[in-house]
């Protein structure tokens, strides 16, 4: 049966399924229960998005662990718990907060298995809100997935819609490796079709969401919608675009990228993050490195500018990729 849910609700649904199906799964994060820990039974916050609302009543405070605002201890303890048999799902409220808790991810979770000669399993999921679009300014709007994607040992995924969010999150939780699950602000309250029940979307596989043939638009998270909007406008002028949703940033589905490039010879990658050392650059490098003879035009990157995320609505709009910016880039290729 077809039904639509906002992405945040789809995430809550995935968490409920994971918690119900596996006693090792626990949730840890700031305000994941909120006031719900009070015996008086006030209505809990359920995290910054309300995605975890209702879970503490269902699964109790031993599995829905409301933590202090103490990201280093939270992440570090989650890594320790994951290494010793739990399957923690951490809510890192905004990815910007990586700055105060990077070591457990960078030097511990990412490297345990390797450093210990394969004798460790780190089934850890870190859910974290990314991206601009809510006038949240420089410290609550960054798309830092390029950092985690560049660290061997971590996996990083980013859904573009509610249905994918549910399936990808279930995959992430059940994965025996540490997975960073990005929740782009611009899709959190957008509704789209979410299948009922338990299903998984594999990590490491991109999804061709639109068939074109003239040009490939590669997006991730919120930029998939931007690519789709650009594609429908381009169709009116006779340019048919493939739109590829990366879904997984590490591992990167190189085959899917090269396949669409092979079809169109023209590729534009749209990334909400800043342009240096990022996913867009990585995809462009892949095209040149492994797809050189497929290129019928330069690879274009439509990204944020090299600046912090601004506050003012006008500045933030100028900062973010838009369908028009994508269309302009496409016009440079023909």
């Amino acid at each position: 049966m077809s039904r639509e849910l906002p992405t945040a609700f789809a995430i809550g649904e995935a968490l409920r399924i994971a918690l119900a199906g596996d006693p090792d799964v626990i949730l840890m994060g700031e305000d994941v229960a909120g006031g719900g820990t009070r015996p008086a039974g006030t209505d809990e916050a359920g995290g910054i998005l309300g995605a975890t609302r209702g879970l503490i009543k269902e699964f109790g405070p031993e599995r829905i662990l409301d933590t202090p605002i103490s990201e280093m201890a939270l992440l570090g303890a989650a890594v320790g718990a994951a290494a010793t048999g739990m399957r923690p799902v951490v809510e890192l409220m905004f990815m910007d907060f990586l700055g105060v808790c990077f070591d457990p991810l960078l030097n511990q979770a990412a490297k345990f298995r390797y450093m210990f000669g394969g004798k460790a399993r780190l089934p850890l999921t870190v859910r974290t809100v990314t991206g601009a679009g809510m006038h949240a300014a420089a410290q609550h709007s960054q798309s830092l997935y390029w950092i985690t994607s560049g660290i061997p040992g971590l996996k990083t995924v980013i859904p573009s819609n509610a249905g994918d969010a549910k399936g990808l999150l279930l995959s992430a939780i059940r994965c025996d490796d540490p997975v960073i699950f990005c929740e782009p602000k611009q899709i959190l309250f957008l509704s789209s079709e979410v299948p009922e029940g338990d299903y998984e979307i594999p990590i490491g596989k991109a999804n061709l969401v639109r068939q074109g043939g003239d040009v490939s638009l590669v997006g991730m998270g919120a930029t998939v919608n931007i690519a789709l909007q650009a594609a429908s406008q381009l169709a009116q002028e006779g340019i048919q675009a493939d739109v590829l949703d990366l879904r997984s940033l590490q591992p990167l589905d190189e085959e899917a990228i090269l396949t669409t490039l092979g079809k169109t010879g023209r590729l534009i990658v749209i990334d909400e993050a800043t342009p240096r050392c990022g996913i867009a650059s990585d995809v462009a490098a892949l095209c040149v490195d492994k797809g050189f003879d497929l290129l019928n035009a330069p690879v274009k990157r439509v990204t944020a500018p090299f600046s912090p995320v601004p506050f003012s609505r006008v500045l933030e709009e100028a900062y973010l990729p838009t369908p028009q910016k994508v269309i302009d880039a496409v016009h440079e290729l023909f």
Binding site: G265, D293, L295, N296, A297, E332, F334
Partner: protein, 427 residues
């Protein structure tokens, strides 16, 4: 007084160069800034401008001759009739063969040319290179239609297919013929400096009822571009006549209309009906000036720049006021304009100039049923019935809110008019 033209030295590594083309015939006047000679060095063709005006009086190194830098190539004299001793001039101005390599003299220190050693390398998309390798095509010969003239995969594909579309029209000259549809033959002749893509909307519609035969004249698309001072309109008409086994409906736009008129006069048995779109018989000064600018921009700037420069001359105020339409048109024009190289443009322009005014008195001899379509806002050719009224029985249509590029700007109106005309004269 005579001025030497010498093989320039373009960059430190250049030791010799090959003469590719003398665009002006002997005895013709070359203005300062005109391309006096095209040379090739290190696989790059470079156009050398005359630094002084003069008459091309003597050529010492013919096409395909390869000589060291500094070697005397030609002499220009102030006038055509002044005294000139070619041997004495050579003795006074040329380098001894053994010195040429090592000691460029005053002639090349103050060269009679303007070197363009900073020309960018030709851009070829990697996919185009790969396909060219696969097809065994020399990618350097393929005209580029991408941004900045980049050769794209599509360009190579089209080039690769050209062989099957080439038809010999005279000894050693092959023209590209694009056929589409079934039925009575309908020949389309594009205007100056464009290929058959300028008729794209008409081809799509008319191929349903006719065999549409798009012909690329000499120097257009994959057609041969023989070296010559001029591509005469009469030659173009003879080429078409050679291609037509049976009488055909002939549709020509602008210069293509001139070729159609020439065909109707010189080879009337080949013409079943005639459609003249924005025709001219005496080129206006404005038309000639635009053609000159066209040649110049094509050799010095990008195709996009050329397309943008032509836009105000080819389209009406009505179209120009729609920014999105203009962007679309420029994008569409680019590949069409890229199909004609700068030397071919110059040769074609010379043919246009020579033909202009030569047939004014003959129009009344045209016997084929004739339709003339003009744009009310055309700046380059007649925007009224000036041509039609000189052809017996010709019907004239004036399309409002349209300029010179009628096949694009008033695509549907033109298609419909041609279809009606064909229907009326097919029985």
């Amino acid at each position: 007084m005579a001025t030497p033209v010498a093989m320039p030295r373009l960059g430190m590594s250049m030791k010799e160069g090959r003469v590719v083309e003398w665009p002006f015939g002997l005895g013709t006047h070359v203005a300062k800034g005109d391309i006096v000679v095209i040379i090739e060095s290190e696989k790059t063709e470079v156009q050398i401008e005359a630094t002084q005006s003069g008459v091309l009086r003597h050529i010492y190194v013919q096409v395909d001759g390869t000589v060291p830098c500094g070697k005397l190539l030609a002499a220009l004299t102030d006038s055509a009739d002044e005294a000139f001793d070619a041997d004495a001039f050579r003795t006074a101005n040329d380098l001894p063969d053994d010195q040429a390599r090592t000691a460029p003299r005053a002639a090349s220190q103050h060269p009679a040319v303007s070197p363009k050693s900073d020309l960018p390398r030709r851009a070829v998309a990697p996919a185009a290179r790969a396909l060219a390798r696969q097809l065994g095509v020399d990618v350097e010969q393929v005209p580029g239609s991408g941004p900045g003239g980049r050769v794209t995969k599509e360009d190579v594909e089209a080039w690769g297919k050209r062989a099957e579309r080439l038809v010999e029209v005279s000894a050693g000259v092959r023209l590209e013929v694009l056929r589409d549809g079934q039925g009575d033959p309908l020949v389309l002749l594009p205007g100056f400096g464009t290929d058959i893509a300028s008729f794209a909307p008409q081809v799509r519609a008319l191929a349903a009822t006719h065999q549409v035969v798009g012909i690329h004249p000499r120097g257009v698309g994959a057609s041969d571009a023989p070296q010559a001072g001029c591509y005469a309109v009469a030659t173009a008409a003879a080429d078409i006549a050679a291609l037509c086994d049976a009488p055909a409906h002939i549709v020509g736009a602008s210069l293509g209309a001139a070729v159609a008129i020439e065909l109707a006069l010189a080879h009337p048995q080949k013409v079943r009906s005639l459609t003249l779109i924005t025709p001219f018989v005496e080129a206006s000064a404005r038309l000639l000036a635009v053609v000159d600018a066209w040649c110049r921009i094509a050799s010095e700037a990008s195709i996009q720049t050329l397309a943008m420069a032509l836009l105000p001359w080819l389209f009406s105020e009505h179209t120009l006021s729609d920014e999105a339409a203009c962007q679309r048109i420029v994008r569409g024009l680019v590949p069409s304009l890229a199909a004609v190289s700068a030397p071919a443009l110059r040769r074609t322009a010379a043919g246009l100039r020579a033909w202009s005014g030569s047939r004014g008195a003959d129009l009344d001899r045209i016997s084929a049923p004739t339709l003339v379509i003009v744009g009310a806002g055309d700046l380059l050719t007649a925007n009224d019935d000036a041509v039609a009224k000189r052809i017996a029985g010709a019907r004239n249509i004036v399309v409002e809110q349209s300029g010179h590029a009628l096949t694009i700007e008033a695509a549907d109106r033109v298609t419909q008019a041609i279809a009606d005309h064909l229907r009326a004269h097919s029985a």
